[in-house]
């Protein structure tokens, strides 16, 4: 068969629209996921028995179930259980926040605990409260160690948005699916979709590389 470039040209506006939603879900999801992950990770590492157990339960619940099940739960089960009605976009963003949050929590916990305990002691020994030790001393060292695993998680989450096809969010994969259903040009459409994903993950990787280079690893 012939690779028909005109198919791609025609599909471009719709695909770009889908890609825009993918980026939006990813950005909101990761911003929220970072916030949730920092809180849950610090609870795991430094919270008392209760806070740590709470965070542990959340992390294990999320890591132990597929993200498709999580988003289906948010979209279809929550309205039944709690009378909370959400639109597909909100469900998609929430799913990324909750899902990435759990993995990021483990990254945060691991990198904070990997910092040599002498630094914490040096901070405490001069009379700092624990929150200042975490914020000014351990945090900046831990943060540098987080960048590579965080980058990994960002890419995973970006690609996970394609699974939200199951609740009908018009993100990139869904757009590709719809166009293909109309014109049956599988090769052109899925090639274009794949390239758009590569462009997005490539940009992410580039940003992370630059951030990593700018910071001296400690």
């Amino acid at each position: 068969m012939e690779f028909d470039w005109s198919v791609i040209v025609d599909a471009t506006p719709a695909l770009l629209g889908g890609a825009r939603l993918t980026v939006l879900i990813t950005l909101v999801g990761l911003a929220g996921g970072l916030a949730v992950g920092f809180v849950a990770g610090l609870m795991r590492a430094y919270g008392g028995r209760f806070l740590s157990a709470l965070a542990f339960t959340y992390i294990e619940l999320i890591r132990g179930t597929p993200i498709v099940v999580q988003v289906m739960f948010i979209y279809f089960a929550l309205p039944v259980l709690a009378d909370i009605r959400v639109n597909p976009m909100t469900a998609a963003m929430t799913a990324i926040i909750v899902n990435a949050g759990a993995y990021i929590a483990e990254i945060v916990r691991g990198s904070f605990l990997s910092v040599h305990k002498g630094l914490k002691e040096a901070g405490l020994a001069m009379g700092l409260p624990m929150w200042k030790v975490l914020l000014y001393i351990i945090g900046p060292v831990a943060f540098r160690r987080m960048i590579p695993p965080l980058g990994n998680q960002f890419i995973v989450s970006l690609k996970d948005t394609s699974l939200f096809i199951v609740i009908g969010v018009g993100e990139l994969t869904r757009q590709g699916q719809e166009i293909m259903a109309a014109n049956f040009r599988a090769v052109e459409i899925w090639t274009a979709v794949a390239i758009l994903y590569l462009l997005m993950t490539g940009t992410l990787t580039l940003i992370l590389r630059i951030t990593e280079k700018r910071m001296r690893m400690l």
Binding site: H116, G118, E121, L124, A125, M126, G127, L128, P129, K132
Partner: protein, 242 residues
């Protein structure tokens, strides 16, 4: 009134008793050299004075505050008892100058300009006026330890605790650190120093304490104890470190 007063201080880790009803009073201006075999509880004693380790029995008063008081009291104790570690523990993301300025800024509430000026003066005092912009990884061990001393001094403590400050250093770098400690003692700083440097103990120390199995077994004048150790175990210990 003693600056540091331990009354029957007991410290345990699980079932292991590390400090056994230790009694000790230290007055302002004393330079106490603490020696003893590995595992005798020297580090633990220092860490209890700084409240890094909670005590299990007895009482420990530093500058009229008990380590058994609440959190803010404990922070007050720590500000008065500067600590210098064997492994330096400088903050790696900060330059030497930032390390030293950190305490005044975040513990004593000094302004930025004031903290940096103080820090620069302290670096000059430990002979590192030109090294302020270097990161810890760019300094030798001896230089790092001198920055660590300056960092502890910056908080303006009444008492300095040193836990084997020269043990991680090559012999040729020890001298510069000991020299800084000596001039600190000459200025009248109260110090408790865990060390194997017997020359330092003899020259600078005003008091020598020998610990064994979580107890103080010898406590006296360094010069006379070192030239004529009448305790059998201390004599054996000194033969090992020489």
């Amino acid at each position: 009134m003693s600056l540091v007063k331990l009354s029957k201080v007991t410290k345990t880790f699980g079932t292991v008793v590390v400090l056994q009803e230790v009694d000790l009073s230290i007055e302002a201006g004393e330079v106490v050299v603490l020696v003893g075999p590995s595992g005798s509880g020297k580090s633990t004693l220092l860490r209890c004075i700084n409240a890094l380790e909670p005590i299990n029995g007895g009482d420990l008063i530093v500058d009229n505050i008990s380590v058994r008081a609440g959190r803010s009291q404990i922070r007050a104790i720590r500000q008065e008892a500067g600590m210098v570690f064997q492994q330096f523990n400088l903050f790696p993301q900060m330059t030497a100058l930032q390390n030293v300025a950190f305490g005044p800024r975040h513990v004593r509430g000094a302004g930025k300009a004031e903290a940096l000026a103080q820090a620069q003066a302290l670096l000059a005092k430990v002979g590192l006026a030109e090294r302020g912009h270097h990161y810890p990884s760019e300094l030798s061990g001896g230089q790092q330890q001198r920055v660590a001393i300056a960092r502890a001094l910056a908080v303006k403590p009444k008492l300095m605790l040193f836990d084997e400050p020269t043990s991680a250093l090559d012999p040729e770098l020890r001298h510069e650190v000991l020299q800084v400690m000596k001039s600190l003692a000459e200025e009248g700083m109260t110090m408790i120093v865990v060390t194997h440097e017997m020359a330092f103990a003899r020259e600078v120390g005003t008091r020598l304490i020998f610990m064994e199995d979580g107890k103080i077994s010898v406590d006296g004048d360094p010069a006379s104890l070192l030239s004529n150790p009448d305790n059998q175990r201390l004599r054996e210990f000194l033969q090992h470190v020489h």
